[in-house]
Amino acid sequence: MTRQPSEPDKPSRRILLKSITGASFLSALGAPIPFLGNLPTGLVPVALAQGTSSLSQQKPGLTVLNDRPVNMETPPHLLDDAVTPAARMFVRNNGLPPASVDAHSWNVRVDGEVETPLDLSIDDLKTQFETVSLQLQIECAGNGRRFMKPAARGNQWSFGAISCATWTGVRLRDVLDRAGLKENALYTAHYGADTHLSGDPAKHPISRGVPIAKAMEPHTLIAFAVNGDDMPPLNGHPLRLVTPGWPGSCSQKWLTRIEVRDQIHDGAKMTGQSYRVPRAPVHPGASVADEDMAIIESLPVKSLITAPQTGIRVSTGDTIEVRGHAWAGDLDVAALDISIDFGASWSPADLSAPTNKYAWQHWRSEIRLPEAGYYEIWARARDAEGHMQPPIPPGWNPRGYLNNMQHRIAVFAL
């Protein structure tokens, strides 16, 4: 691979920054810039210049995969808390979050195939519907994409696009009941206040939905608080959906509208290959036609080892505690086994029942490493229907979704 030094007459980034709103940028590139006129001119240079420092201030310790749009994941050892602190919830943004948010004037509209369209403020939600607090897991469907071979397009998440916090809000079901679903109601369509990266106001960065049955599931919430507080701006303040167990993209952030439709929603990232996997298994690297792809619903069984941190050194013969969490989409986790010999033998860990359905379950075990050397601890969860986590990425798919392979940590016994 040959690398040539930067040529001085080429437009450098600093020149681009200075001239991004001027015609010189166009002539320097010799090409038009799409939607330049739509770009919020004050914002773009700031977004370009801010780098990643303010992100690490908002979410200390998280790994920044992308700074525009913001995508950050949480290293497994920072997910050790039983309930994920807000600062450690991963971020998967598709567009730019709303620049200014006023929770008091925020409004969500419920319309489409309903008897009575509703316009509800956050205060209306709090006063007119029962408030519930539940521990709910939210995971990105692309969590684990990094380990797909050949590489799959998108943010290269490893293990940390998962959180389980205490969400407070109202049941989406209660709101839909108030609006009154019509007989032909089939699917929801969610809209948020974030803006498309191109600046085109006609485009939504993401607008997904779920079948009515999932929307009516009593754990699907319109949430206005997390862990008893406002949710972080990057995680959807002041209002978002929480659709636990399904791809995080079903949990629309900065929620402004829920439309009930009489067809499967066809909004941004509902169609094509987004959040879809092949209907039939394909070989790694296959190209798959859009019509052979099916929408992802419940996510598969999965677990994390959150303590100790990978790479730890322990004394040979000491007893060490190993612990973490396990979850299984719409199902409960039935068992969690660990191995210290690369999967040759497995022993069961203590596994707690979920605090409520869709809360992740905690597991712990004690191990003793018999002699000095390099060990890996492997964790393997099994769901209530008998599905187990595989040791390698299962079911390669073009966009690299649903990798629920076993998490492993390295331990040196010295």
Binding site: L29, P34, G51, N66, R146, S158, G199, T310, D330, I409
Partner: protein
């Protein structure tokens, strides 16, 4: 038990079973299940095409380094890293770097570009997607060729 009693018993048992089946059908028919919505048309049989396309190799090389969970993986490890302080965000300096830096940074960070490892086909798909769905102005043919060559050279799949 008389013959007529036996017949009446059988009729009652049969009627009971029919009732149970009917109520089950009604129960499940009336409730919405998560798959109770129309799916796309039946999957076309493209398996022969898929089989022809297969490389002939089982993907045994799928590994994960427990010691360095964010590194040691060929998908994302290269001698290039996103660098917000660099004039070109850390992009390798070779023919086309200015076009890639200019076009791709208008809407999104180069961090997402530099995470990808795609062959020419994959990068073509992405450029098409940017133009058709994401609002990128259509690339001039010459620029497109240079950009495609750059991306598949510097961020190709192995």
């Amino acid at each position: 038990m008389t013959k007529s009693k036996r017949i009446i018993n059988r009729i009652l048992i049969l009627a009971g079973m029919v009732l149970i089946v009917l109520s089950l059908v009604k129960l499940f028919g009336a409730s919405r299940t998560i798959t109770d919505y129309p799916t796309a048309s039946k999957t076309p049989d493209r398996m022969t095409e898929q089989a022809d396309d297969w490389s002939g190799e089982i993907a045994y090389g799928v590994t994960y380094a427990a010691l360095t969970p964010l590194g040691g993986d060929e998908n994302v490890t290269a001698d290039v890293r996103f660098d917000p302080a660099d004039d070109y965000w850390g992009l390798p300096r070779s023919d086309g770097v200015d076009l890639v830096a200019g076009y791709c940074s208008v809407c999104h960070s180069l961090a997402i570009v530099m995470q990808q490892r795609q062959d020419v086909e994959g990068w073509t798909y992405l450029l098409d997607w940017m133009e058709e769905k994401q609002g990128m102005a259509p690339l001039l043919a010459d620029d497109r060729a240079v950009i495609l060559a750059y991306l598949s050279r510097e961020f190709g799949s192995h």
